[in-house]
Symmetry: C2
Subunit: 113 residues, 2 copies
């Protein structure tokens, strides 16, 4: 992930994207923010992690896209024990709704000044 | 797209996702905002459009994911004349950098209260 732009520097396709779109339930900000950041740091240590892009708007809608070498890599992260606890907290406390989409990136192109 | 949550209501996979991640160059807010909204409205009229999710953070990083029935549908929208003008303005004025990834959604699951 490029620290300056927030855009992930991914290799040439094919690779996988996990598109996680969520709507926050309320604002118990601090605990959520700490766990969310911890999940980014922890996921990035997994073999096959390629990058992450994440934005949350003022209205509580957020999109996080993480990129993975292959399905085995993203499934290993999904099953991480600490991540599973966070997923449970997401359903019971943090999110009003979310959607997870697993997609195979086939083509990519970009632009930078 | 669900007006209440901001999450797109997409059909069962497979379908396509266009992940557009961008970093704004500056803040000429109004013209950009108007064109961005126009592109959402115009794209939604295209055959094969399934939904859109879009968030921009306070730091200028934005993620917009649009969903499409198939590749032909998303390519038709890419080639739209007015959309092409907006793409040009994006490169010359609005964005410092962006990345477009075309991905085939293979699986999806969600949660809602």
């Amino acid at each position: 992930m490029s620290a300056t732009s927030g855009l992930a520097r991914t290799p040439a396709p094919p690779y996988y994207a996990v598109i996680f779109t969520s709507k926050r339930a309320g604002d118990d900000g601090r605990a959520y923010g700490e766990v969310a950041q911890r999940m980014v740091d922890l996921g990035a240590r997994y073999d096959g992690f390629l990058g992450i892009e994440s934005v949350r708007g003022a209205d509580g809608l957020g999109i996080t896209v993480s990129y993975w070498r292959d399905e085995a890599a993203l499934l290993a992260w999904k099953r991480d024990t600490e991540h599973q606890k966070a997923q449970h907290a997401g359903r019971t406390a943090w999110y009003e709704a979310y959607e997870v989409r697993i997609a195979k990136v086939e083509r990519a192109y970009g632009f930078s000044r």
